[in-house]
């Protein structure tokens, strides 16, 4: 009977999978504990409600509280959020790394991360779109060029994408390289074991040394509370669950107090030409002109998601659902500068509370971003732009759009979402600010490591998956060489 592992990796997303693979390759006895279930490709691509039930944490009902509540979702299945994201791929710019060095004394350079980015990009087949851009991308490009702004096509970890428009529901063709496809099979070939349906309740530690975990195994019949011992524990549960687990375990040093996010404001745009956004991949370009504080890009599309965007002003907008083939969706994303926190709940079943307060800069950037995006879309030929802000009617011309360069959007009327959260346990050598050292080892513990989005010291301003994977590999190889 085996009820112990040499290394426990908690979570199987971008950080956990890389960690487990490299440890497995180095000959460690590794066990991954994943709260969600494991699915086959045949299970993917189901209708959105079914996909949310199976693949999303708490069925997607994990809002970030605050004066402006923000919709937030993350994956809870083998592969984590990489199973339900767009596969967009960004290396973190050097400017951000330098800021992390300055503010947190994070001991990492662009050159050092480069080899790990290369490794991940090769494994995931990261690349640009190889055929003609889909229509939603073409009109976006037309708008950007009309405005004369800089932009780039974002590479994706989805070689051979067949435009099934199912990224957020689990790619049914296997083109998008979620961790369940890209890394975990190889990790398992190196002896890594994956235990799905295992939620870790608490890390057992004594005098600065972790002994194992107490976990709930969800099995037919009833849940079973078990103990699993380990010599080393890597916590890779994501930006909200990692700090919640540490806090539940009594590990509090700079844990959960500095959550950062990228708040997004979604808009739908109605064109005269048919876009058929439902039949193609999401728009592939991002405007870089205003980066890093502000980025403009394209969002997932489905009739249900369009209805949600239009729903802030539904009585006026509902008639436009009949125009859904003419209405792609885009977003304004800002590099959040507000502050948030993560706490485990006391009442109810074990859960996590997150809170984030928009800063005045966030609100300013969202307002300016709406103006910029609306200008772009109208220049691209959009007849009307519908922001998901209550009481803000359709933007029909440049004059309507530029209004938001000078005015602030009404805070209590905003409907914001995010899929990017990080920095809840920042890493760096500056102990007065950081929960872990530069290699992810938790301060005060000799055998406890974090290796996921929670250790990014601050908002990267770009999709974080690439950086999470690169940092996780670097930290794991450091662990292997050090031990």
């Amino acid at each position: 009977m085996t009820s112990r592992a040499q290394v426990l990796v908690i979570g199987s997303g971008a950080g956990g999978s890389v960690t487990a693979l490299e440890l497995g390759r180095a000959g460690y006895d590794v066990l991954i504990l994943e709260e969600g279930n494991r699915y086959e490709f045949s299970d993917y691509g189901q209708a959105t409600p079914e996909a949310m039930r199976r693949l999303y944490r708490r069925r997607g009902m994990t809002p970030i509280l605050g004066k402006v509540p923000i919709g937030y979702v993350e994956g809870a299945c083998v592969g984590g959020s990489t199973e339900i994201n767009s596969g967009f791929w960004h290396r973190v710019p050097q400017e951000i790394l330098l800021r992390w060095k300055a503010q947190f004394d994070l001991d990492v350079s662009e050159g050092e991360l480069g080899e790990h980015y290369d490794w991940a990009e090769e494994r995931l087949g990261v690349g640009l779109w190889k055929t003609e851009w889909p229509k939603s991308t073409q009109v976006f490009a037309r708008g950007i060029e009309a405005m004369g702004w800089s932009y780039s096509e974002v590479p994706r970890a989805a070689p051979g994408c067949q435009q099934s428009n199912a990224c957020a529901r689990g790619c049914p063709t296997g083109s998008k390289q979620g961790m369940s496809r890209a890394l975990l099979p190889e990790a398992e070939s190196h002896g890594v074991r994956v235990l799905a349906g295992a939620r870790v309740n608490r890390i057992l530690e004594r005098s600065g040394r972790v002994q194992g975990v107490v976990a709930t195994l969800r099995r037919e019949g009833r849940n079973q509370l078990v103990r699993i011992d380990a010599e080393h524990v890597f916590v890779c549960c994501g930006p909200t669950e990692t700090p919640a687990l540490l806090l539940r375990s009594g590990i509090r040093f700079h844990v959960g107090n500095s959550l950062r996010i990228h708040p997004y404001l979604k808009v739908a745009a109605r064109f005269d030409e048919r876009i058929d956004p439902n039949e193609s991949v999401l728009p592939l370009l991002q405007v870089k002109e205003f980066w890093p504080e502000l980025s403009l890009g394209g969002g997932f599309f489905s009739p249900g998601q369009l209805a949600m965007t239009l729903s802030e002003n539904w009585p006026a907008n509902r008639g436009h659902m009949a125009d859904s083939r003419y209405m792609p969706q885009y977003y304004v994303g800002v590099r959040g500068t507000g502050r948030g926190w993560v706490r485990p709940t006391v009442f109810g079943t074990e859960g996590t509370l997150t809170r984030y307060e928009l800063s005045s800069d966030d609100l300013r950037n969202l307002s300016v971003g709406l103006a910029r995006l609306s200008e772009l879309l109208i220049a691209a030929g959009a007849k009307e732009v519908y922001p998901s802000v209550w009481g803000v009617g359709p933007i029909r011309n440049q004059m309507d759009a530029v209004r938001w360069l000078d005015e602030l959007l009404p805070k209590n009327a905003l409907s914001l979402v995010t899929v990017h959260a990080f920095s809840s346990c920042p890493s760096g050598e500056l102990r007065k600010k950081c929960a872990t050292d530069s290699q992810g080892r938790v301060y005060g513990y000799e055998n406890l490591y974090l290796n996921d989005a929670s250790i990014l010291p601050d908002s990267p301003g770009v999709n974080p998956q690439a950086t999470i994977m690169a940092l996780a590999r670097r930290n794991t190889l450091h662990f292997v060489s050090a031990s």
């Binding site: 085996t2 959105t48 409600p49 009833r222 249900g304 009585p315 003419y326 709940t345």
Partner: protein, 483 residues
């Protein structure tokens, strides 16, 4: 039997002897005998026995409901379990019946022993609280005070503390387990594992009460249980020529049952008679009559249940030693065999939607041209999805949502003199839209989750998507080119 248990038995017997002496002191046996001789047993005795046995069926129903999260029992089996506990208490010392009952529940249902035991104690606490409430009613109706009031105050403290414990286990069970782990770790691995296991099982035992409606049903059933038991006391009052006052029956029943919490011999001989007689004494019943009444109630209480219990013991071949074995077998925290672990089951399906959720969803989704049958199907699935999403909300938001919707329902009642669900669809739609999309910010916040998820599920439904594709407007240019 260990020396401590012997001590318990000896103390119990001594206590019984003491109370018997107190009951019979100052009494002439002839008076008691005369009172008995004059008692009118038919039809009062059979009615009393029937009332008491009916109460046990309700106890069985309650036991079945409380265990229903983890075990499927018939009401008869659950009643047998309950009766066995009472019967063993009647023939064995030191309240062994509670343990025997938990052991039989474990044997019949497969529940872990400590979980069964916590169910038993939960029932006891519910009983205690209901009895206190009934005693309060009796004291309100009868002008008595003195030692009865003191008894009530003492019992209130005991059951109040127990109630707080149950409340914590119901509302913050996971937190209690975590807290037990932190405390247990001070005592080392063995103490930690046993404590966490025990607290977890106890928390699992009260899981059924997490749903407010289920908790209410259990409280109501507990009330019915004790009203049936009061029925036994009531039926036997006229047998002795006493006025059949429900208040006197309530007073005698509650005081007697609180009194037999005092350790005593098997069958509670002594305390039962003493407290029952004293309770009647405070409302002016002569001591000899009171004692005769107490003796007859005790026989009604003792004989049928003990006989039924003996039959169960014979039929099911249950040995009293099993209780002690099951107790000894209560294991510490499990160490799972990680190499032989079945996959987790699929996540729970969408729950059945409540009437209010269905009514709100119907009002929130748009009018369409689907057939009545298709629309019914779409609404059913949409409401079920929405119900599941609402249940997945963090506890804090879920409670706020429920309170908010309760408020809306009350206001609807006041404004329309009809329930929200009973409003005609068109009026309900206009009313709900006022809340969901109107200028009242809190109303919009309250409806945000339900309107967004309802629209999402509605527009993602295959029937709606097909209809949307068929009716999407074509621009004149496209329409003519298609022709």
């Amino acid at each position: 039997m260990g020396s401590r248990r012997w001590l318990f038995v000896v103390l119990g017997l001594a206590s019984s002897a003491g109370f018997l002496w107190l009951a019979f002191a100052r009494l002439e046996f002839d008076d008691v005998r005369a009172a008995f001789r004059q008692a009118d047993l038919v039809p009062w005795l059979p009615l009393a026995a029937l009332s008491y046995l009916a109460g046990h069926f309700v106890r069985g129903l309650r036991c079945r409901l409380l265990a229903s999260q983890d075990a499927k029992l018939t009401t008869l089996t659950a009643t047998n379990v309950v009766v066995l506990g009472y019967a063993v208490n009647n023939i064995a010392p030191a309240r062994l019946g509670e343990f025997a009952r938990a052991a039989m529940l474990t044997q019949r249902s497969g529940l872990p022993y400590i979980q069964s035991l916590s169910l038993t104690f939960l029932e006891r606490i519910m009983d205690g609280l209901v009895m206190l409430a009934l005693l309060a009613v009796a004291l309100w109706a009868l002008p008595v005070g003195g030692w009865v009031t003191t008894t009530m105050e003492f019992a209130s403290v005991v059951f109040g503390i127990a109630f707080v414990g149950v409340l914590l286990a119901v509302t913050a069970g996971d937190y209690l387990v975590r807290f037990a782990g932190q405390v247990g770790q001070i005592g080392g691995r063995r103490v930690h594992d046993r404590l966490v296991h025990a607290v977890n099982q106890a928390v699992q035992g009260v899981r059924y009460l997490r749903a407010p409606r289920a908790a209410l049903v259990v409280v109501l059933l507990s009330g019915i249980v004790w009203l049936f038991e009061a029925g036994m006391f009531l039926c036997l009052l006229p047998a002795f020529g006493l006025e059949p006052s429900p208040w006197v029956a309530l007073l005698a029943m509650t005081v007697t049952n609180l009194g037999i919490l005092v350790p005593s011999s098997p069958g509670f001989i002594g305390p039962f008679h003493f407290f029952c007689k004293e309770a009647l004494g405070v409302v002016g019943v002569a001591e000899a009559v009171g004692l005769s009444y107490a003796a007859l109630v005790h026989l009604t209480f003792y004989v049928p249940i003990t006989a039924w219990g003996v039959v169960i013991l014979l039929v099911h071949g249950f040995h009293l030693s099993s209780a002690m074995q099951a107790r000894a077998a209560a294991s510490p925290l499990a160490l799972p065999d990680l190499d032989d672990m079945p996959p987790p089951p699929d996540l729970p399906p969408n729950p059945e939607a409540r009437e209010i959720t269905r009514a709100l969803c119907e009002a929130l989704v748009p009018v369409d041209s689907l057939s009545a049958e298709s629309r019914h199907e779409v609404l059913l699935e949409t409401s079920a999805f929405v119900e599941g999403q609402l249940e997945a909300l963090p506890a804090r938001l879920r409670v706020l949502y429920q309170m908010g919707i309760l408020g809306v329902r009350l206001i609807t009642r006041i404004v329309f003199v009809r329930s929200l669900c009973g409003l005609p669809l068109e009026r309900r739609r206009r009313w709900v839209e006022k809340w969901a999309y109107g200028s009242f910010g809190l109303g919009r916040q309250l409806f945000r989750a339900i309107r967004a998820t309802a629209l999402l599920a509605y527009y993602e439904h295959p029937l709606v998507r097909a209809e949307l594709a068929a009716t999407t407007k074509l621009r004149p240019k496209e329409a003519s080119s298609r022709d």
